[in-house]
């Protein structure tokens, strides 16, 4: 936001003051009120690093709806402000540097669900609602077609061996608990993880 000198003086009431502390210091009020005084606002938003299961805390600086800086969250119990080299480069998921050395939005960053139908060579943009419905339909269809209540020996197993579930290194304990609970309820046996730590 920009304030003109006139606005600044009006707001700070300079005209009405006399013998103030400010006058001791060669009147920094006037310096601050130079014609082009501009104020840059930013918000700090806490978030979690998406790279690994460490779950390091981040503070994102947001200005005008754009992330302008990412740093380790000093108040986060896991990383206490520190970040690994990958975490430090996380901002590059949003931005890339062009040949002139300027930051610009990363054109390769996916912002929608992309779908390629079986046999097709074309990718389509889809909504998240569409994608979640599609996944649910396929899970239901596959489970119904392959569900085994008893095995060959007549032992109750309530399972499907046609579905596997791969977890994420970036999800937390509570999310993992819920995912495993859901998969077991479906009768899924094959649960694995792609943890890198």
């Amino acid at each position: 936001m920009s304030l003109s000198r006139r606005d600044f003086l009006k707001r700070t009431g300079l005209a009405a003051t006399a013998a103030t502390l400010i006058q001791l210091g060669g009147d920094p009020r006037l310096t601050a009120a130079s014609e082009t005084l501009k104020i840059h606002y930013a918000r700090e938003i806490s978030t979690i690093c998406a790279y690994c299961s460490g779950g390091c805390g981040l503070i994102a600086h947001v200005r005008g709806g754009e992330i302008v800086n990412l740093e380790g969250d000093p108040d986060h119990p896991i990383n206490q402000g520190a970040l690994c080299s990958k975490g430090m480069s996380l901002l590059n998921l949003r931005y890339v540097v062009d040949r002139q050395g300027n930051l610009k939005a990363n054109p390769n960053r996916l912002q929608t669900v992309r779908y390629r139908a079986p046999g097709s060579s074309e990718w389509e943009d889809k909504s998240w609602d569409w994608a979640l419905d599609r996944i649910a339909d396929l899970v239901k269809e596959t489970r119904d077609a392959t569900f085994e209540q008893v095995d060959g020996n007549g032992v109750t197993v309530n399972r499907t061996r046609a579905i596997g579930h791969l977890g994420s290194a970036a999800i937390d304990n509570e999310e993992n608990y819920l995912m495993v609970k859901m998969q077991r309820a479906l009768g899924v046996l094959y649960l694995d993880h792609h943890a890198r730590l």
Partner: protein, 283 residues
């Protein structure tokens, strides 16, 4: 670790550095340099267990070991302050005489109420001697500061300071006016403008109303100066001045940097925020 800011070492050098960085700071820097005074550390102590109990209970140490200000020492200091200010400030007619003849008991009362209610203390003094409130606040800080700093030095908190989670000073109870982002970790350390005690406080929580809703919190910088931030809370409309030592590239004596950056206080007021400390140095 203790986070008490001992202002004695490097005080004059810091004034020189700030004068170079902030040309407007010159006369005020000279005045602060001439007013610098360091009292002997009083012979008082508090056991580690008592300190830890106080910190855990959220009790300030001056409740346990009340500050005793020698009124003779205070009067001498006041006289020196008035003389120095009179030489450098165009005071209203008769103000210097009124300041010089201020009743010692009244001055002592103002110094004792300063941490908890600087607005009232400054307002009382301003009314009594007919000077502006911001100048009155400045004079009271200069008068009372060395006594509180000596007391805080004697009671110096150790590792237990990390248990302190409040938004006010664990030694004297004043609400902070400024703080810094540590050069290494980026942690926000609040520092008491009265006694110099520093303590860590979460960056994404308002120290004044404890609001942690991130949509209400933010900061702003003046163009071309990313080293000094105004952290604000839109729930209570109060602000805290913060020096980003990572940007500045060095640690800084906040009590001096605060005076060198009064323009930021003006900008904060211009944006509709009040100082959460209730220490108003910009009229």
């Amino acid at each position: 670790m203790t986070r008490f800011s001992d202002r004695r070492p490097g005080f004059q050098e810091e004034i020189k550095r700030l004068k170079a960085e902030h040309p407007d700071f010159g006369p005020l820097g000279d005045l602060l340099g001439s007013l610098a005074a360091w009292l002997d550390t009083p012979n008082i102590s508090l056991s580690p267990s008592a300190r830890e109990w106080a910190v855990r209970e959220g009790r300030i140490l001056l409740e346990l070991v009340p500050l005793e200000i020698d009124s003779q020492d205070l009067s001498k200091r006041w006289e020196k302050i008035v003389n120095s200010v009179e030489e450098q400030v165009p005071l209203p007619e008769g103000a210097a005489a009124r300041l010089g003849s201020l009743d010692a008991g009244h001055l002592l009362d103002l110094c004792l109420v300063l941490p908890s209610d600087p607005g009232k203390a400054a307002g009382d003094l301003a009314g009594a001697v007919e000077i502006s409130g911001d100048l009155a606040a400045f004079l009271l800080v200069q008068a009372a500061g060395p006594f509180y700093q000596a007391q805080a030095r004697a009671l110096s908190l150790g590792p237990e300071i990390d248990l302190w989670t409040q938004g006010f000073c664990p030694v004297c109870g004043a609400h902070p006016h400024y703080g810094r982002l540590e050069a290494e970790s980026g942690a926000r350390i609040l520092e008491c403008w009265v006694c110099g005690t520093g303590w860590s406080h979460p960056r994404l929580t308002c120290p004044y109303c404890e609001n942690s809703q991130q949509r209400d919190l933010g900061f702003f910088c003046l163009e071309g100066d990313d080293c000094y931030r105004i952290h604000f809370c839109r729930q209570c409309d109060q602000y805290l001045k913060v020096v980003d030592c990572r940007q500045l590239g060095r640690e800084v004596l906040l009590c001096l940097a605060n005076i060198a950056t009064l323009s930021h206080d003006l900008a904060a007021k211009g944006q509709g925020f009040r100082p959460g400390s209730r220490l108003d140095l910009v009229g």
